[in-house]
């Protein structure tokens, strides 16, 4: 069982630890206490306004939140926003990445302008959308409807999703672009000579090489999308049942000063995102970073 690792093996271990240590130390030092403290708070009744009533309540905060209607409405809204925006962004982002990668003219210009939306401060972008979609003050509302789209549920959600997609597709595209840059040209040429069509080359050669990049893009975009806050806060403030789970957490934690319930929501958001991440990692199998199998070509 305990086979003594060889000297070479142990040198490799040491190098591995040495290289990871700085990153690991910084991450753990900064987040260990805050995360554990939040988990601990989630098991207490703790309202800053009523400090005397603080007590340990076990999992009862979880029952309160999970049996609450607001929570599930917000959960559904958040899921919808996440699924739709990530799916659309993956397709759009891939297209964008191909253009950025392959274009014959104005590559610098395209790459740079495509990334600008991601660089704009979210709140400012959200305010500009709000103006744009408000009748009287904006060009879009006057163009597309004669009502006020931000006062109806369906159109509000559509606008929120649109704002998210516009803002974060560049994130997806950039990660995919870097993945495209790894596809060996000679492989593509070889496939081409074997008579593969452009689509076949894309599916058979490009996609497999890009798998790890796609996973990273999906993973980080999903966990970000599920925590959507700024756009909703500015565009509708949660009216007409457009609130997200992060807005609920914010309202309970920072407005209500109810650290117990607020932390419970944070932990639940965390668990949901972790489950989604787990599914992605399983789906992608060996393409996941750190997986045992070194499936290198």
């Amino acid at each position: 069982m305990t086979v003594r690792p060889s000297e070479g093996k142990r040198a490799e271990w040491r190098l591995g630890w040495l290289l990871c240590a700085p990153a690991a130390i910084v991450m753990v030092a900064v987040t260990a206490y805050p995360i554990l403290y939040s988990v601990w708070l989630s098991m207490q009744r703790f309202d800053l306004k009523f400090p005397d009533e603080r007590e340990f309540v076990g999992l009862s905060n979880y029952i309160t939140v999970l049996s609450n209607e607001y929570w599930w409405t917000a959960f559904g809204v958040t899921m919808l926003i996440t699924v739709v925006s990530v799916a659309v962004e993956l397709v759009l982002g891939m297209g964008l990445a191909v253009v950025m990668h392959r274009t014959l003219v104005g590559r610098g210009l395209v790459r740079t302008s495509a990334l600008i939306p991601y660089g704009i401060v979210t709140v400012v972008a959200a305010f500009s959308w709000r103006y744009a979609w408000t009748p009287g003050t904006g060009y879009l509302a006057n163009l597309f409807t004669d009502g006020a789209p931000l006062t109806e549920r369906a159109s509000s959600l559509a606008i929120i999703i649109l704002a998210e997609i516009w803002k974060t597709t560049p994130f997806m595209a950039l990660l995919l672009l870097a993945g495209l840059a790894l596809v060996p040209d000679d492989l593509l040429k070889a496939a081409s000579m074997d008579g593969a069509t452009a689509w076949q080359r894309f599916v058979k050669v490009t996609l497999p090489v890009m798998k790890p990049a796609i996973l990273v893009a999906l993973l980080f975009r999903t966990l970000d999308a599920f925590r959507v806050f700024d756009n909703i806060y500015v565009l509708t403030a949660g009216a007409n049942e457009t609130s997200s789970v992060s807005m609920l957490a914010y309202n309970n934690l920072l407005r209500g000063l109810n650290l117990g319930i607020g932390s419970t929501m944070s932990v639940l958001i965390f668990i949901t995102v972790a489950i989604m991440a787990f599914i992605f990692v399983k789906l992608f199998g060996t393409a996941a970073p750190g997986s045992r199998d070194e499936g290198r070509r």
Partner: protein
């Protein structure tokens, strides 16, 4: 003839991309050039152009100082995060050692926890350590929360690099350093610069930590400073000035991306040919 049509086709696609990306940006630019009276007339192109909003933000040194803080903090955080991330990602992609899975797992967990509930405990810690409202007080969380993305991106790329090329180059007589510089570095570059761009934008745009972990102009970054702009009264948002500031702070991002995007090229062919 072939290439001419291809060029046209790409040019058209380029145009689509640029319009999709920049049209909403132009709306913000337009807001920043509108006078208070015409700010909300709904016209896409300002009826009367004014530099008033830009004058306002540069009137005091509040905005300039925030800009300096933003640039300094984002650059330092990006450098450190990318260096630490590269080291860790190299180990994750290339080496086999106990604890690797834990590192990868834990870093993802850190990226997943909602930051809104981590801010208050961080505030307490930073005050105890005396780094509240200082540059390190923001740099540390920025490094921490961008490391997971950096590690994941970089290890995904390092994994795809055909490291055997390094060996081949050495057999061709290149030294270790030459092999690294000529073969491995060009291949790793797209991943490294992609991470750098993403990390930089994350630090640049963060509002939550910036507003919670600073209290004066000494370390307040631009996104936080925007919420200290005053309108004519409690109820009026200085929309024009905020738009102008948003336009100004997008310029460094453009420069940063313009500078680094060149490095995201098909590294393999160029590397393999030259190696």
């Amino acid at each position: 003839m072939e290439t001419r049509t291809a060029k046209w086709r790409w040019g058209l696609l380029d145009a689509v991309v640029v319009v999709f990306a920049l049209f909403p940006v132009l709306w913000i630019v337009s807001l920043s050039f509108k006078s208070t009276a015409t700010l909300t007339d709904g016209n896409f192109i300002p009826r009367e152009w004014t530099l008033e909003n830009y004058r306002t933000i540069f009137e005091t040194d509040q905005f300039v100082r925030a800009l300096v803080n933003s640039i300094g903090i984002a650059l330092i955080s990006t450098t450190i995060a990318v260096v630490l991330g590269t080291m860790a990602a190299y180990a994750v992609a290339r080496l086999d050692f106990p604890g690797k899975g834990t590192l990868v797992g834990v870093s993802l967990l850190i990226a997943m926890f909602p930051q809104v509930s981590l801010v208050s405990p961080l505030f307490d810690i930073e005050r105890q350590l005396g780094i509240f409202d200082t540059w390190p007080g923001l740099i540390l969380p920025y490094i921490t929360f961008s490391l997971p993305l950096a590690i994941y991106t970089l290890s995904a790329f390092f994994k795809q690099i055909p490291w055997d090329l390094e060996k081949a180059a050495k057999m061709d007589g290149a030294t270790q350093a030459q092999a690294f510089r000529k073969v491995i570095a060009p291949l790793a570059a797209p991943g490294v610069f992609t991470s750098a761009i993403l990390v930089f934008i994350f630090c640049w745009n963060d509002f939550l930590f910036a507003i919670s972990l600073t209290s004066t102009e000494r370390s307040r970054t631009v996104p936080a400073a925007l919420s200290f702009f005053t309108g004519a009264s409690q109820f009026e948002d200085p929309t024009g000035a905020i738009s102008a500031a948003a336009v100004v702070i997008t310029i460094p991002i453009i420069l940063f991306v313009l500078f680094f995007q060149r490095r995201i090229v098909a590294g393999l062919t160029s590397g393999a040919v030259k190696g």
